[in-house]
Structures are given as C-alpha cells and as structure tokens.
Symmetry: none
C-alpha cells in the first residue's frame, strides 16, 4: 500500500524544482578485508556535506528481505507500489531497447532456439548466435500481419529478441511457448483467460510462420516466446504529482521505465558529465528531474568493489553542478543495493538523503549506510520518497480540514 492516491488528491503545481538523483545499486556491504562498505571507503566530501545539511534515512524498495529487480526498484522510487505495478518481462525487454509501446500493445521476450527434425528443442539459445545474426533473422520475421494484428520483431542481443503485437483486443494473459528446458517440443501458446484467445491464436500463427521462415537457418531454426505482457496503464507523474518531469538516463531500460510513468526523455550523451550537462541545459524547462547513474550498479554486479568506489567518487565530484543549480529539493538515493561482494542486486535497505530549506536537518554528517541509521527519516519505504520530496517542495496541500 502506498499513498499515491492520497498524494494525487493534494498535489499542486508550483514553481519549485525537484532533482531526484538515483545512483543505481547505491547501498553496499563491507569489504571483508577492511570492514568498510563502498560508501565508507569512497572519499565523498560533497555527499558528506549534503548529508550534514539534509535529512537522511534508509529505504526499503519493496520490503525487508526482498531483492528488487530494476523495474520494481525504480517504480518504488517514483512512488508507485512496486508489487501491484510489477511490469511483465516482455514490456521491460521492450522498453529496455527504447521501443515506444502504445496502449493495447503486448510485448513478449523471444529466444531463437534449435529444434531437431521431430520438433524437439535441443538448444534453447541456438548456440548463442551473434547479435548480427540475430538482427538479420529478426528482419526476416519482422512486419507480419496476422488477423489484423501487426507484429514487430526487434533484436536485443545474441539469441534474444522482442516481439510486439499491435492490434485490437489483445489480452496478454496467455501461457508461454518456452518450456524452459530442452528435450521437449515447444508447447502452443494458450489463453489463460477467456479474453486472451485472440492473442494466443495470433502468437501460435506467428510461431508457425517463424518456423517456416527459419527452416535452413540452423542452429536458429525456431523461436520460443515468454513473458507476454501488455503495456501497463500507469497513471502518469503529471496526473499524480502535477509535475512536468524530465528523465536523464544513458541506459535505455531506465529511459523506458521513465517513459512508462510519463516522463519526457532527454537526449543525452554516454557519460556522467553528459548527463549532468543535459540536466543543466534543461533546468529552466521542467520542474522535476530524474537523473540516473548506472555505473555504480554495473561495478557492483561485476563484483568490482574498487570500481564502485571510483564511480561513487566521480558522482561526488560532479555533485556541485547539481547543488549549484540550487534546486528546492535534492534527493539522492538508489533503486536498490548492489554490494560488490554479492555481485548482484540485494535486499539491503538503501540510503536516502533529502535536502531542502525545510527538511529538518538531523545530526548525520556522513553519507554512508551506518551513518544514515540514525538519520531523521528513519527506515522508510522507497514509495515514501516522492511524497517527502513533494512536501519539501511545497507541492502538497493539507490533507483534511
């Protein structure tokens, strides 16, 4: 349960500006050698100064113990209930390659695979064909129209692709044609609800036609589909918060997530400096900025403690460019923790720092997991961050008389 409906009722437009800096995979765990986390190891004088000025705490993106994927992690920070808003795999793959889905679209994740002469799957990944080969085969399958449904096929990487079904009356509640194992034939896609018959039928015709077109293209002589999902019908951030929001993100998945909640997407370059420059150039035109830094998470996923420390120091060094804009509210947090020692996302709570003229400063003087434990925000849910940012920007009116 989030307070998003409550916030929607009391939010107002105002000239104040909010900057939400999401440092992906922000929280960490101690290096066994030193006993210090990535944040405790990094030299972050600017973040420390901000912690001294602001109010700090720890946030659970979903719930204690639950490790979030990137989708739920970001949706929670945007204020959306991450469980009921969970996005299907197909949609996340689609937004992850910058596909703009339309309402009513259904997206599915596809694999090129290998089948033998009896139709039995012998390799679910077709020997991990090259990305070039994948692009070539996707062109072969792209552009079909079946029963009035247009089918777009987009390459992702190696054997992976995305299919988008665009047409009337497509319900995504269908079974997968990927049995998740070899030694069996791909099962047909089946409707799991009465309304999903059309999509199941079209998907099966697509698979049959793909099999024909791929004959002779061994090892990629068949396709498997899974994670069928419709474009989610989220209320936008304009509707909920009355904001005019801009997303600045290098990686497509985060642009895609921002687009799903109604943000405008800035053109930006490939570096941290590009992102900060883009934000500055657009600063006068919007009242909310989501700035996404990916490289902390990448380093954590790679188990590269030292690189994560370096990226944190780079973010810290760039921070004066944000604070120099003097936003009314500056929030620094993450979508989840990615401790280098775990080489992946984790369940650990995430540092959150909010700085504004009215934030009620706490005694925290350092930007770290342990220092934030005694912060004024306490332990909150990540879905509380947006209401707090809105309140500090004086964009929320009183609830009740």
């Amino acid at each position: 349960m989030t307070n998003i409906d409550l916030v929607k009722d009391i939010s107002i437009t105002s000239p104040t500006k909010i900057v939400l800096l999401v440092i992906d995979g922000l929280g960490g765990l101690p290096d066994p050698q030193t006993g210090k986390t990535e944040l405790e190891t990094a030299s972050t004088p600017n973040l420390d100064a901000l912690a001294a000025k602001g109010i700090c705490g720890m946030a659970d993106p979903i719930a204690p113990g639950i490790t979030p994927g990137s989708g739920p992690g970001h949706l929670a920070v945007f204020g959306y209930d991450p469980v009921s808003s969970n996005i299907g795999r197909g949609v996340l793959e689609a937004v992850g390659i910058d596909i703009e889905l339309q309402p009513g679209d259904v997206a599915a994740r596809g694999n090129f695979c290998t089948i033998d002469e009896k139709g039995v799957i012998t390799d679910r990944r077709a020997g991990r064909i090259s990305s070039d080969k994948c692009a070539e085969l996707c062109k072969l399958l792209d552009g079909m129209s079946i029963d009035g449904v247009n089918i777009m096929v987009y390459p992702v990487r190696e054997h992976r692709f995305v299919v988008v079904f665009r047409g009337e009356d497509l319900a995504a509640d269908v079974s997968e044609s990927d049995p998740s194992r070899t030694g069996v034939a791909a099962p047909p896609v089946e409707a799991l609800s009465p309304g999903a018959g059309k999509l199941a039928d079209v998907a099966n015709q697509f698979v049959a036609e793909a099999k024909n077109l791929l004959a002779g293209h061994q090892p990629a002589n068949m396709v498997l589909l899974r994670g069928f999902a419709g474009k989610p019908g989220f209320a936008t951030m304009q509707e909920i918060y009355k904001l005019n929001p801009l997303a600045v993100a290098v990686y497509p998945m985060y642009r895609g997530l921002a687009r799903l909640v109604g943000m405008e997407i800035a053109d930006t370059g490939a570096t941290l400096q590009d992102e900060f420059d883009t934000l500055k150039q657009n600063y006068s035109k919007y009242d909310f900025f989501f700035l996404h830094v990916k490289w902390t998470d990448s380093a954590g996923e790679d188990g590269d403690f030292a690189r994560k420390v370096t990226v944190l120091e780079q973010v810290d060094a760039a921070l004066p460019e944000l604070t120099g804009l003097e936003p009314d509210v500056l929030v620094v947090t993450g979508d989840h923790s990615t401790p280098a020692v775990l080489k992946g996302h984790s369940w650990h709570s995430v540092p959150v720092l909010l700085c504004s003229k009215y934030c009620r400063t706490d005694p925290v003087q350092m930007f770290s997991e342990s220092a934030f434990l005694t912060g004024g925000l306490g332990r909150i849910h990540s879905t509380d961050i947006m209401p707090l940012a809105m309140a500090n920007a004086q964009k929320l009116t009183k609830f009740g008389a």
Copy 2:
C-alpha cells in the same frame, strides 16, 4: 499485510541453514530500583558479541500497542499475518496438549461446571476440581459417536478440557454454550452460518449426554463449551519457504504451533541443555530450526525479575553451542515482551538480532532494548523476520526483472 505470498513466489531450496532462536517474552521493562531492564541487568557476553557481529532492531509482533498471545506472537515470527491467521481458542488448547488435529476437525475448550437442580450455573469452574478428577471425568465423556461424528475428550488441567469433533461437514461457526457468568442456564450452541447446523446439533447432543453422564458427580455435574474452531488450513513452511523445518520445544503449545505450520517436531528433554543437544543431533538433517526457550516468559509472568535475568544468562551461556554450528543465518528474537514488572505479555517491541555473512553489520555492541534502537534493522514487523532470514540465507530470488 505480510509479504508471505511474494516470498512464496521467489523462495528456493538451498543447502544453507537457518537457526531461529525464540526466547519467549524476550523484551522487558526497567526494574524501578535500578532503572535497568532484565536484558540490561543480565550478563550476556555471548549475546553482546553476536549483536556486535550481526544486525539488530526492534520488532512489533502485531502492531504498536497490541499485546500478542502466544499464538499470534509465534505465527508472526514464522512470517504469517498474525491477525488473519489467528487461531481459535479450541485449536490452541488442543495443540497445547499435543493433540494432532486432522483437517476438518473442530476443537472446543471445555469447562466442568456446577449447576443447581434448575440447571442454573452456580460455579463455572466446578470448584476447580483436581486434574486427576478431570482426567477421570474426561474418560467418562470420551469416545461418543453422534450422527457419525466421533467425539474425543482430553483433560487439560483442573476443570479444563478439550473436545474434538471429528466427522464430515463440520463448520466451526457456532455460538458458545458458556455464558461467561453464573446465575443463568447454559445456552444451547447455535449455528452462526447456514453450514454450521450439523456441528451445533451434535454439540448440543454431546452436552445433553454429558449432563446425563455427570449427574451425581457434583460439583462437576455439567460442561460448558467455548472457542469452537476448525483446524486452520495454513500453507506450510515447506510450501512457502521450500524449507525442511524442525521445531525443538519443551512445551506442547509451541510444538503444536510449529506443527500447524508444517514443522517436524523433535523429541527432546525438559531442559534448555536438552533442547540445544537435540538441535545439534539433528543439525545435519534439516535446513531450518525453530528453537523455543520458554522459561524467560514463565519468569516474567510470575513477576520474577531476578529469575528472568538468570534464565537470560543461562541462554547466553548455552549460545556458543549454536554459534559453534556456524549456521548461515542465526536469528535471536522473542514472540513478544513479558516484562516482570507487568507480570504478563506486553505490547512492547521485541529485540531482534540477525547474524549472517551478508547481514550488513551495524554499530550495536550490546544485546538490549535500548541498544537495539539504533540497529540497522530499525523498527520492523515480526513478519519481516523470516523474509530477512531467507534473504540472508540466499534462499530468495529477485522480485521483478
């Protein structure tokens, strides 16, 4: 709302082991003489060392201000929503004397009572007859079969007994025959829903027959029934967590609660040392251990501050036997607080300590209510304990892509 459904979807089996040590009635209140709680008074070097290694916090079993019974207190620690999972009195009494209920059984708590010649209740407890007398009278009533329903009667203590109705189509939604006061006749059991007519009818026939059989056994010449409850259909811990759990508990109610959530029950002796020995002997055969220590609660209920301190010191002295097993996750908590000054369960939040390789240690150095306030877990709900234990044992996969 708990996250039990979410956890069920993402839990996996792994070789890691979790030990959950529940020190019954763990939290306390200061002795007015010294200003120190039981935990602050006790010398607990091993618990303090564990607090220094682990992550600490305070847990609410139900909600701030709500004092839990043993049933909800334990169900919350096992991860079950303690309100929607609340167990009826009859079932709790039954499991409290080691009765193994079958699906469809309905259990009720019974009192032997005294009625006058007009049927008016003059003593709801039949002068608190001896437990021996109770056992003798239960034998008299045990073993009836009414309309195909078999009726088992088990003595508890003094005037208290348990009746189990076993047969087809028994719905427990019936009124009580215990008016909870003297000076009136026992009302008939009435169906409170259309499906409960059969049980009401059988229960009334049982009461009538009991009255006949007890004639001349004054003061125990009648029975009163209350707390009719069906065996709850909980999803088991195997289903939710994919665990193979063992319960080690001296007292039958805790074995019974563990059995209701699917744990295997270890044979163990009557002492703390017996319990620790039993756990060690079974350590290789299970991946989850619930170890229940009762005597802290008993001392608290008796208002015996010094004895509660002594029991805490005994648990502390035995702790190295658990830590020596090097479980992947060790949790130490309670089902509720039982401050000696209150002589009973209380609403106060309960210390919780979790120790694992990946727990993200906090600065807490002492095992006490006040020290835990600044712990890294913050203030959680007791139902968060199992998801946290599972996550730290790396038995939960990511939620969402």
